[in-house]
């Protein structure tokens, strides 16, 4: 595999004007001289190269850090030669060509050079914020650039137009505004970038604070409790389990931290089952591992009965099976919900259950039958028990009648 393409960023070191050509060359993996030559060739065609260069300059970010590049003297001379060649080509084209090119190259060309000087200075200023050097030269260059721009625009205005006083004044104001705009573009761009950066940092900071607050309220408190009760393993396990569950639902649960804050179904089947499993976990100190497949749906009376019956089955497993883990599997289909509660515990013979035990009879069988559901019980002594609860789901029309 080849090395990944570096993102497009202007070079900070070893540049002639703004580092655009170097950046493009790094991005495309071409020799920088080729890219420069391409810009020059394009510049001879109605200044397309110069325009492209300018736009890239404004919109492409400079490299983040100072990458040390050694630019050979020869390459530097080559680049200068190419730039001169470009200017010469453009001027020749202007001399040979029509008026349009003539007046672009003339005063507006001067203005463009001025703008380039100022922009380059702005880039330098950005760079100096890290290195911490500055000086009067910078000011001089900026002023010189501004003078160039002003002169170019003025010549353009005087040379090309014969207008009345009012029109002239209006145009002068307009062109001045334009000039100021052109000169301040780099600062605007930088301002916008810094604002975006700052907003991003603020968002990250808020999130960090929220996470810290939550961890403090939950995990740290629980850990403190665990340390104080470390001699009671049962209690420690209970605390740890409860905390794990809480943190999990915060991280991964519906509407949890890692999700977009979509419509979390508070009274959904999934949440109700999870709550039931959590209660049994806490009360009987066993692990209840629920797996839910299918889309969540809101609870109605029938599904609530299913959850309650399922909870009773979990309680039975926790109390009588004598195991540390109960599996719960719920499959939500379009027309039916199936719930399996299973343990690998002692098991029993259903025929041997004494008449006076009401848990299974009333809480599971009775409840399911009243709501039109079915119960299937399979238990083998020594191998465990599985309770299968099935509830048909009513559509809205059926529920309404």
């Amino acid at each position: 595999m080849n090395t990944p393409t570096p993102p497009l960023a202007r070079r900070r070191s070893g540049r002639l004007v703004a580092g655009v050509a170097g950046g493009v060359a790094d991005h495309l993996g071409l020799p920088v001289t080729w890219v420069r030559a391409a810009f020059i060739a394009l510049a001879a065609m109605w200044w397309a190269g110069a325009l492209a260069y300018g736009l890239l300059w404004v919109f492409v970010k400079q490299e983040a850090a100072d990458v040390e590049r050694t630019t050979p003297q020869r390459e530097r001379q080559q680049a200068l030669g190419l730039a001169a060649l470009g200017v010469a080509a453009a001027l020749t084209a202007a001399a040979l060509g029509n008026d349009l090119i003539g007046w672009i190259v003339g005063p507006l060309g001067v203005a463009a050079v001025g703008a380039a000087v100022v922009w380059r200075e702005a880039d330098e200023a950005q760079r100096r914020r890290w290195t911490g050097t500055g000086g009067r030269n910078a000011l001089w260059r900026t002023v010189a650039g501004a003078v160039f721009v002003a002169a170019g625009i003025a010549v353009f205005l005087f040379g090309q137009l014969q207008l009345g006083q009012v029109q002239f004044a209006l145009l002068a104001v307009l062109v001045t505004l334009l000039g100021v705009g052109v000169l301040t573009v780099p600062w605007w761009v930088r301002l916008v970038r810094e604002l975006t950066e700052e907003r991003r940092e603020r968002i990250v900071e808020t999130e960090r604070a929220e996470i810290a607050a939550h961890l403090h309220d939950s995990v740290l408190q629980t850990l403190a409790l665990i340390q104080r009760q470390s001699d009671q393993p049962r209690e420690v396990a209970r605390l740890a389990r409860g905390q794990e569950r809480e943190l999990r639902s915060w991280l991964y649960g519906a509407g949890g931290y890692g999700r977009s804050t979509g419509a979390a179904l508070d009274e959904g089947l999934t949440a109700a089952l999870a709550a039931a499993a959590a209660e049994v976990e806490d009360t009987y100190a066993v692990t209840v591992a629920p797996v839910v497949v299918g889309a969540d749906r809101p609870l109605d009376d029938h599904l609530r009965a299913l959850v309650l019956a399922g909870r009773e089955a979990m309680v039975n497993a926790a109390k009588h099976a004598g195991v540390a883990e109960v599996s719960v599997y719920c499959e939500v289909e379009d027309d039916e919900v199936n719930l399996f509660v299973r343990d690998r515990g002692a098991g029993f013979d259903p025929d041997d259950v004494p008449e006076d035990r009401h848990g299974l009879a009333d809480s599971v069988h009775g409840r399911m039958e009243r709501h039109g559901g079915t119960v299937r019980l399979r238990s083998t002594p020594g191998e465990g028990t599985e309770v299968h609860l099935a509830m048909r789901v009513r559509t809205h029309e059926e529920a309404a009648t």
């Binding site: 991280l251 991964y252 692990t287 797996v291 497949v293 599997y329 299973r342």
Partner: protein, 223 residues
């Protein structure tokens, strides 16, 4: 590869960014299980890639969540190069997209970190022998990913993307907490057949790119 190698010691490599967890697993495996030995451990993706290249373990226990790319990244870098090394995802994560991503990158199974040392050793033996290992939760994830209604699925190669009825039955029982042996008894098939079905589910999960599984799973907010 197919001969029973009861006598051979299985070399295991641990990848997890929590040193405490690594030392816990190492202690449990080294102490209690004679035929499994931990040959090395790593706490980051780069470290893991270099060390696994060097140690050539039989089985890699791979954490799903790590700061610099996670288990999927390790798999991406090493799978083509080391086809003989088997990866088993060992995760605390409950997010379907994380787990499915690692499975699709080529892990041969997935178990949760609450697993006991004995069960973990058993899982290591099974993946080493070439059989996939699914926890009930992973079976649930996979069922959910493949249970799209026929109308909603984009048209494509049905043999590749849809589970057969039998595979679905096997997965359902897995999700209900059955062991492979119990599934075999329940469906009146051999354990080997169960393993074959689970293998083909794993293959389909790895090959099924068209569904954008992880996005789908997160859209449904699977827990």
């Amino acid at each position: 590869m197919t001969e029973p190698d009861d006598q051979k010691i299985i070399k295991v490599f641990l990848v997890d960014d929590h040193a405490l967890f690594r030392s816990g697993v190492r202690a449990e495996l080294d102490r209690a299980v004679p035929d499994v030995t931990v040959v090395g451990e790593a706490g980051s993706v780069d470290e893991a890639v270099a060390a696994i290249r060097h140690h050539r373990p039989d089985v890699v226990l791979l954490d799903v969540h790590m700061p610099d790319g996670g288990g999927a990244e390790v798999l991406r870098q090493l799978r083509p190069e080391l086809p003989d090394v088997v990866f088993l995802a060992l995760s605390v994560s409950d997010a379907a997209e994380d787990v499915i991503a690692v499975i699709r990158a080529g892990a041969r199974g997935y178990v949760t970190k609450t697993i006991s040392g004995r069960e973990l050793a058993d899982a290591v033996r099974r993946v080493h022998a070439g059989d996939p290992v699914f926890s009930p939760r992973l079976a649930g994830f996979v069922l959910d990913v493949f249970s799209q209604k026929p109308g909603a699925a984009p048209p494509g190669d049905p043999e590749l993307d849809l589970l057969t009825r039998r595979e679905r039955d096997v997965l359902r029982l897995l999700a209900r907490g059955y062991a492979y042996k119990e599934i075999a008894g329940e469906l009146f098939i051999s354990v080997k057949t169960v393993e074959t079905h689970v293998s083909s589910v794993l293959r389909k999960t790895q090959l099924s790119n068209r569904y954008e599984l992880s996005r789908w799973a997160s859209d449904r907010r699977l827990v």
